[in-house]
Each structure stands twice: as structure tokens, then as C-alpha cells.
Amino acid sequence: MMKAGPSPEEIRRHNLGTLLRFVHLRGPSSRALLAEAMGLNRSTIMALTSDLTAAGLVREELPRGPGRRAGRPSLVVRPESTRVYVLAFDLGVDRLAVARVGLGGTILDRREAGRTRGEFDAAETVAALAGAARALMRKAGRDAVCVGSAMAFPGTVRRSDDVIRFAPNLDMRKAERGPAAEGAAGRSLEEGVALGDALSRRLGLGLPVAVCNDANLGALAEHERGIGIGCDDLIYLHGDVGFGGGIVVGGRLLGGADGYGGEIGHMVVNPGGRLCGCGSRGCLEAEVGERTLLALSGRTESSDLLGRDAIRAVVDAADRGDVQARDALHRVGDWLGRGVANLVNIFNPGMVVFGGTLRDIYLGSAAQVRSALATNALNAPRENLKLRTAELGDDATLVGAAEFAFADVLADPVEVLARLRSPEETPV
């Protein structure tokens, strides 16, 4: 696969993408800083930024505030946050969220709705998400352009065609049943559910809606915008009703052969333990998940509180001296620590990030988690391990979906934008 070397056109495209990615992730940067960071000279940077400016992706302006340095101030390159945006969808077990996220990662506008647990109706969900997205798009300016869209989904998603294969915590029988649901969203779960296609058709933007596992997107978000900036080997654990994970190795998300990688929740830690939604016994999800914590602490699922609030209530009660809640939290923390110990032995991450409901569980049972880790993980791989909580909080998956949606435009900015601005050429 040796090539004679990249052509000037390829180099330019690569440089444009790298520059845009830098401004997108780091925020407004002076030309001097860009030149230094990219190892290009200033006239090349000028040529690149004028291309991006012409495409409407960035704008240049004089630095704000008093200039304290001698000489002519270097122009600052800012991403056009309000004019170039993506749509990010987050389909949680208890909540639906849609956001319009501008280049540079600012959430410009958002809509959220609660979701009642129970049967998952693909058509209804797609309609609700599309409605919210359209409302967001109406509020965008006339010259604003949507450059991509992606959805975080709590289940396993095939990478090649974004089809959902398995979602133990959403009751997907109806989605399987067939023609009642709209179009491709109504195939059997054996073939998978193409939620992204249905949503894309409903939105009518001519843009595909990428679907990706929520915890994988959370890992991406924390790596690029959260606590994990600068840490290229991290594991993100995301707790909702279920328990997912995203593994970043060498700065890249570990997907596996078909994109199902990182299902840490279904790592068996206790053979013969509790029955898991996936059909196996003793999965980490079964030992640490919301249902187990609520059951152990004597709170039944029928109570008014669900999800995050219910878990907070248990941690709160434990802190106030509720013995049963405290014991439940300790047991759960012990299993969590064993799970993390396995991961540390296998992947030797620099950081493990606890997000979603696991943030509360970790902070409430850190002594047990770390004790189990100290007892069960090998000495060398845990030496420099950092345990952290998600900096983006509940928005980690949403932010991750936005980052995923930006991937295309960051890879080839000018080409993608030219295609979007001349709709007659848009492939269907």
C-alpha cells in the first residue's frame, strides 16, 4: 500500500480538516498559534483560513481585549458557531433530548422530553424527535446550514449500516412487529431496526442520521471535550438503567469488528449471579445496575422515583445513616470495583471515567470501589490510573452525538459544505 505520496490536493484537504478540527476543539485561536500547532508557516495558514472563511466555516477578527504584546496582533480564527451546526439526538430510557450544536461545540438550543418506560414505539419516537428537531431548525437563522446529525442510542448498533441489533433496556417488541411501524423502522429485531433511516426520512434534510451506542459517544465526548482531554487511553463507563462503556485506545474509540465493542456492562463478574436483561447471569450490569441497587436497598421499582433521582435518593439515604441503603451501595461498589479491576488489567487505561448514574454510585461508594481495585487489579497497570467523574454530566452522550455528527465536515470541510449548499447535487 505504498503510495508515491499524497497529492497537493489531498494535502490541502487534510490541512483544511486539521485546522478546522483544531478551532472546533480548542476554540478561537490566533493564526500564530495555529501555525505553531500545525507546523505550517503563516502564509499557508492564511491560505487555509481564507478557504474556510470563503466556505463560511470560520471568520477572522482582531483579538479582543487590550493587546499586551508588541507588534501587529495576529488575527484570531473563530468557528462560525451560529451558522454551521449539527443536530444531536439522545434517546435515553427516561428522556429524549435534541440539540442544535454549533461548530466549536456550543449547544445553541435544545429540547428535552421525558419518556415513560414501557413498550418502545419506533414510529412515535421518531415523530417526537423529528418534531423537536424541526422546531430547533426553524429557530436557526436563514443562512445557517446543518452539516450532519447523529443519535445516541442505548443498545448495540451495527457500524456498517447503523442498524440497531439489541437494546435490552428498551422494550422493543413493537418495533419488531412489523408493518405498523413506519418503513424500515419496522423490521424484526433479527434483521435489526434502522431508526436512523426512519428519522432521516422524516426530517427530509437529505442527510443521514448516524446512530451510535450512547456510552461510546460518551467516551468520545469526555475524551475530546471533558475530563479526558489529553488522555489518549481512557475507559468511560456510563450508567443509565443499563450499563455501557466506551474504550478509547491510543486516541481512538475501540469499535471491534462490527462496531459492537465496549459492552462492558455485559462482562460477567459473578458467574451464577443475578439474571441480566441479556439472558446471561452475573453481568456487571446485573450486579451494579439501577434495578439491583434499588432492590438491595429495599426500594421497589414501583416507587415514584426512577432513574437518576432514585439512585440519588439511595445515596442520600445512605449518607443520612440508612443502613440498608448503605449496605446496598457498598455491595454495588464492590462489584463495580471488581469490574474496573478487570478492565484495568486488560487495557491499562490512564483514566476511568464514571458517567450517568454511575457518577453518583461511584462518589457514594468510592471506598469500596477503590478497595476492590486495590485487591483485584495488578499492581503495575493500576499504578498511574486516575478515577474521575464525567465533566459533561448528563450531556455527555448528547455532546458525543454532536461530535460524531461533525466528523464528516471535519474530515473534508470545503467539499461537504459545497455539496450541502447546492442541494440539486445532493444524493438521496
Partner: protein
């Protein structure tokens, strides 16, 4: 004009597989692992008596930049006395106090502040009738000519709070009396950070806070250390200690019985050290 020059472009081209690497390498928050770090604060053989009562016996204590060192011990073990020695409130009777490897002698809390050592006391020492900005700059107001420079102080206070990822405080002009316990704790910590501190000592920051607020304060403590400060955390709550600390120092009846890495010990061992001064091979010799 539109093409990268070939020589430069090849350089960029070789980066193509690692563009994430090259980007994230620019302002990495993390130090390379495994580097030997000299402690910022290094106390050796500190003795302290109040009249006939000997409170600290030959205490050694170190705090490292970028780490949270938890100081634990039973009531009366000498935690507060040790902290007051660190902060220049009490003079110590004998022993060496090294700051960044240099021996120092502290005569007053102000001298400790000048070195970059700040203590956030349990009672926070905030004025309820003053605003957040006024509290943060109390006694050290910025001036422009003869007038107090409110605009610059507000900007500095806002950036400091934003730098700590504090989102709960809506306006820096709000009087401190209107804030919740967790928010007050945040302001007290931000006040210490504002002055370029290198060592911050937090005395029971999570006492008397609710669970959600405690969690926020713990995450704040962690962020301080991740910014490269040396943080000393006094707490009675083992869970909080394990949630944020990198090292645990255990005082038992005025003696430092162990200073260990949090990753190497279990909850049970630390509790044993606190209550009996030894646990297996750790702690006081038989």
C-alpha cells in the same frame, strides 16, 4: 496560493495518522506518568507542644503537586494542629519545613500566603453582607489610580470560577449570605485559587453539606489537583477520602503512622490505622 508547500506538507502528512495525538499534545493536562516529583510541601520531624501537652511527635508529612493528599485521624489526633503549623498559625518547636525543597520558617499566616499556601478553614471566614467579588478580594482590592477597579475584579472572579467549572453561581455580585452551603464552600475555595496558590489545605470541606453539594465540592477538589496544585484534604468521611485522594496520611495520637498511596490500601486498612495506629505491616512498629 492554495496549496501547502511540499516540504511542510509532508511534515503535516506524516502526522495524518496521529492528528488526534498532535492536537491533544499541545496543551496536555497530564504530566507524563512515572516521573519522580519532588514534594511541594515536605515536613520532617515536626514536634509541637502546648505547655506540658505534646500534640505532635516527630511528624513527617508531604504534599505533591497535582495530587490530593488526605489527612485523616481520629478526633484529637493532631490534624488541626498540623494544619495550623503548615499555615503559619502556630510556630513548631522543632523539625524541618521544606517548601519546594527549600527550608522555610513561617512567622505568620501572611508569610504562608506569600509562599502560596492557603487554608480554607471549616468556618470559611466569609462576610455574609458582601458580594462574592468583594469577598474574594477582601483586603487585597485591585485599584486603578485611587479608585477600586470593580470591572477587573469582577472579570477575574468570573474567570476563576469558570476555570473551576463552577456553574452553580449565577452572578458574582450576589451577596454571600444568599448562597447555599456548597456555593459558599466554592467561593471560599475560589478565593484561595485566585491568589496563585500552590498548596491549598481544605479543613472538612464537605462537613454539613448535602449529598449533591458534597459531590460537587469533591469534584472541585479533584479539579484543583488536576490543575497542578497540591491539595491537602482533611476529612472524616472515608468515602470522600477514597473518592478524590491520591495519598492518605494517617495521624494517630500525634504520630504520623502511615503515608500511603490510596491505590494501594483498602478501606478496612485505613480504618484500622486510624483506630489502632497499625494495620498488618503498615503503621507503628509492634
Amino acid at each position: 496560493m492554495h496549496f501547502a508547500t511540499p516540504g511542510r506538507a509532508n511534515k503535516a502528512g506524516t502526522l495524518s495518522d496521529h492528528d488526534r495525538f498532535s492536537l491533544s499534545g499541545v496543551a496536555s493536562r497530564w504530566e507524563p506518568p512515572g516521573m519522580p516529583v519532588t514534594p511541594l510541601l515536605d515536613l520532617r520531624g515536626i514536634d509541637k507542644s502546648f505547655g506540658p501537652v505534646k500534640v505532635l511527635h516527630d511528624v513527617a508529612f508531604a504534599a505533591y503537586p497535582g495530587e490530593v493528599t488526605a489527612l485523616v485521624g481520629d478526633n484529637g489526633a493532631g490534624k488541626t494542629t498540623l494544619v495550623n503549623c503548615i499555615g503559619g498559625v502556630y510556630p513548631w518547636d522543632s523539625g524541618t519545613y521544606l517548601f519546594r525543597g527549600e527550608p522555610v520558617r513561617l512567622g505568620s499566616p501572611r508569610e504562608a500566603n506569600d509562599l502560596g499556601i492557603d487554608i480554607v478553614h471549616q468556618d470559611l471566614a466569609l462576610c455574609e453582607n458582601l458580594s462574592i467579588v468583594q469577598n474574594m478580594f477582601l483586603g487585597r482590592e485591585r485599584r486603578r489610580g485611587l479608585a477600586v477597579d470593580d470591572a477587573e475584579m469582577e472579570e477575574l472572579a468570573t474567570t476563576t470560577l469558570a476555570g473551576l467549572s463552577v456553574r452553580t453561581v449565577t452572578s458574582v455580585r450576589a451577596p454571600v449570605g444568599s448562597l447555599s452551603g456548597g456555593q459558599r464552600q466554592t467561593v471560599a475555595i475560589a478565593r484561595a485559587v485566585l491568589w496563585d496558590s500552590r498548596v491549598i489545605v481544605l479543613d472538612e470541606p464537605a462537613a454539613a453539606l448535602g449529598v449533591a453539594q458534597t459531590q460537587q465540592v469533591l469534584e472541585l477538589v479533584r479539579r484543583l489537583a488536576d490543575k497542578g496544585l497540591a491539595v491537602v484534604l482533611i476529612s472524616h468521611n472515608m468515602n470522600d477520602v477514597f473518592a478524590v485522594s491520591d495519598r492518605i496520611a494517617v495521624l494517630y495520637l500525634g504520630r504520623m503512622v502511615a503515608q500511603v498511596r490510596t491505590a494501594d490500601v483498602t478501606h478496612a486498612q485505613v480504618v484500622e490505622l486510624i483506630t489502632s495506629g497499625r494495620s498488618g505491616e503498615l503503621g507503628l512498629a509492634g
